[in-house]
Amino acid sequence: MSGPNARYGAFSLRGAQLAAKEINATGGIDGRKIEIFSADSQGTPVEGVSATKRLIAQDKVDFVIGDVSSSVTLAMQPVVEDAGVLLINAASSNPKITYAAGVGGFKWSFRNYPTDENRALIVAQYAAEKRGFTKFAVLSVDSDYGRSAIEFTKKYLPRFKGQILTEDYYKEGEVDFRSVLAKIRDSGAQAIIMYGLADTTPIVARQMTEVGLAGKIPLIGNGEFNTEKTIKSAPKAMEGAVEAAAWLPAWDSPKSKAFVTKFNAEYREAPNNHAYVHWETVNLLGKAVEAAKSIDRAQVRDALAKIKYDSAVGEVTFDDHNQAKLPMILLQIEDGKPVVKGAYSADIDYPR
């Protein structure tokens, strides 16, 4: 595994290999053993396409799982479509991947991972329903990620009678947020929606303390609010912050705990989110093969579309865009520690 996402790729492969090893140890699926072939996209669409073609033509794989990067997955979709090979994505979050799948066009690509849109919706829903917020200020990073997360949030806020009072985007490297935070303080907003960079959150939190926002208006969204360093930078400002994650090692379910223990024992390191989703996806695929009672690709695909799978976070089903409907874990910072508030899922509206 190489390229900018190499570390994530390595975790993903280890997660998948662990699942294959476990399944094979119990006799495989209907007596068939799973074999994992790995290929390296280097995080670029060009390499991803040729790696996918090699897997299909040379290694004769039946199913492809990948890629970590959204732009690579988007490039892989037409390749598997032509070959009639099932692609299950387990890590890309760009909504376009499943906009274009299922009834949207591509019949062979599925995704077993929440999208940026899921995240925005779930966070907005939690903020409105569980915390009772209706008035929001926006302070997000000025990038495709930050801007589109806000677009999705705006799409769903009317569902919860929420409104956005102020909207600001910061450039990477921005260090002075006080003017904007003072404006937010005077605007009457009840929470700040932030989709940002991990390194900016501590700066914002400290300056929230300065302008008197700490403990009054929480941050909600995403930006590594739950790391020790961020909370330590301004504990009062981070109190009550809310963010959503696909999975966390701290998630308290027997299946999840067992996975963490097994992964630790196998690789002598703690698993991350990417290891978990790939481990779960191999298991999911195994269940689909079992349900199809065949490894015929079309039958497995149809079985996957109808599956009801119990993941470590909750039940997984697929919608007509081949997008998994699966719960995300919500975290809230309480008394200086991240506390899991439960797993939530929500239906997204596809564009027509």
Partner: protein
């Protein structure tokens, strides 16, 4: 409304004080060398890292870390001044641009090589907020304003009353004549350079507690903020730089509040263009150096 605007102006003055501390060093270096120092933001970064190392590795208290940061910057500036900057005396302008851009890259990459490219957390400083007339500011920000005023007052005394300051003024006016009357131009250049860089390092250490994150590339933005300030202030004009920094700080603060945070970084060059249309030599004369 009135309160809101006055709070934003105070915010702008605090930002302006930081810009002023960095920019004054750059403008002084321009005065004696006739070269824009594109590595100026990197001295700001070196100062911050010096203090971060003192706190993180040696567990020193913040006031001592300030001294450590300034000394680290002065040391780096001494090396660069001896080996590179003093050769720039009388050299064509493009030599200065290339040399300082190169130094910027070397300093950035050295820091990344030694400490890694990730963001570091700066502990220390006085971050408790104090409220004055209803406006809430971190104690650290008051410290920054106080230091900026002291530094400008000190520089005023230095250039008008000390031998070194007089030599600096002389070099900034005419290098050849200084050489004729026996002033050691290279020594003046290196000393001015060290002083200017150390001031950039000082402002880095002072702002680190409120900016929290420390990383190798943090100086770039500072260099690009400083360029319009020193041009607006009249290249080489110390007092002009102070006022230009304040104008930019306040303008940025108002734009961030009433137009949008995303437009903040465009303010500097936009203001610069407006000012230059009206006064092609900057707000203040570039003849009246120091």
């Amino acid at each position: 409304m009135l309160f809101q605007i006055s709070e934003q102006i105070v915010n702008g003055i605090v930002t302006g004080a930081v810009y002023a501390l960095v920019a004054v060093g750059m403008t002084m270096i321009f005065g004696v060398l006739r070269a824009i120092n594109f590595a100026h933001g990197e001295y700001y970064m070196v100062g911050t890292f010096g203090a971060w190392v003192a706190i993180e590795y040696f567990d020193l208290p913040y006031p001592i870390a300030i001294v450590a940061g300034v000394i680290a910057t002065a040391f780096v500036a001494l090396v660069v001044g001896q080996f590179v900057m003093q050769r720039m005396v009388g050299a064509p302008a493009e030599a200065g641009v290339l040399a300082t851009l190169g130094i910027a890259l070397i300093l950035q990459n050295t820091v990344i090589l030694v400490f890694g490219g990730g963001y570091k957390f700066f502990e220390g400083g006085y971050i408790e907020p104090v409220t004055i007339f209803g406006i809430s500011l971190a104690e650290q920000r008051l410290l920054i304003i106080a230091v900026a005023v002291l530094v400008f007052f000190g520089l005023e005394l230095l250039v008008t009353h000390s031998r070194m300051g007089k030599a600096m003024r002389a070099v900034s006016q005419n290098v050849d004549c200084c050489a004729v009357v026996g002033i050691d131009v290279r020594k003046v250049v290196v000393r001015t350079f060290i002083l200017g860089a150390a001031l950039a390092g000082l402002s880095g250490v002072l702002t680190a507690p409120v900016n929290v994150s420390v990383y190798g590339g943090m100086g770039e933005l500072i260099t690009f903020k400083t360029l319009p300030i020193i041009i607006m202030g009249g290249l080489g004009n110390v007092r002009g730089t102070f006022f230009a920094a304040m104008i930019l700080g306040i303008a940025e603060s108002l734009v961030a509040t009433y137009v949008g945070l995303q437009f903040r970084d465009t303010v500097g060059f936009a203001t610069l263009m407006l000012v230059l249309m009206w006064r092609p030599h900057g707000l203040f004369s570039s003849q009246a150096r120091y």
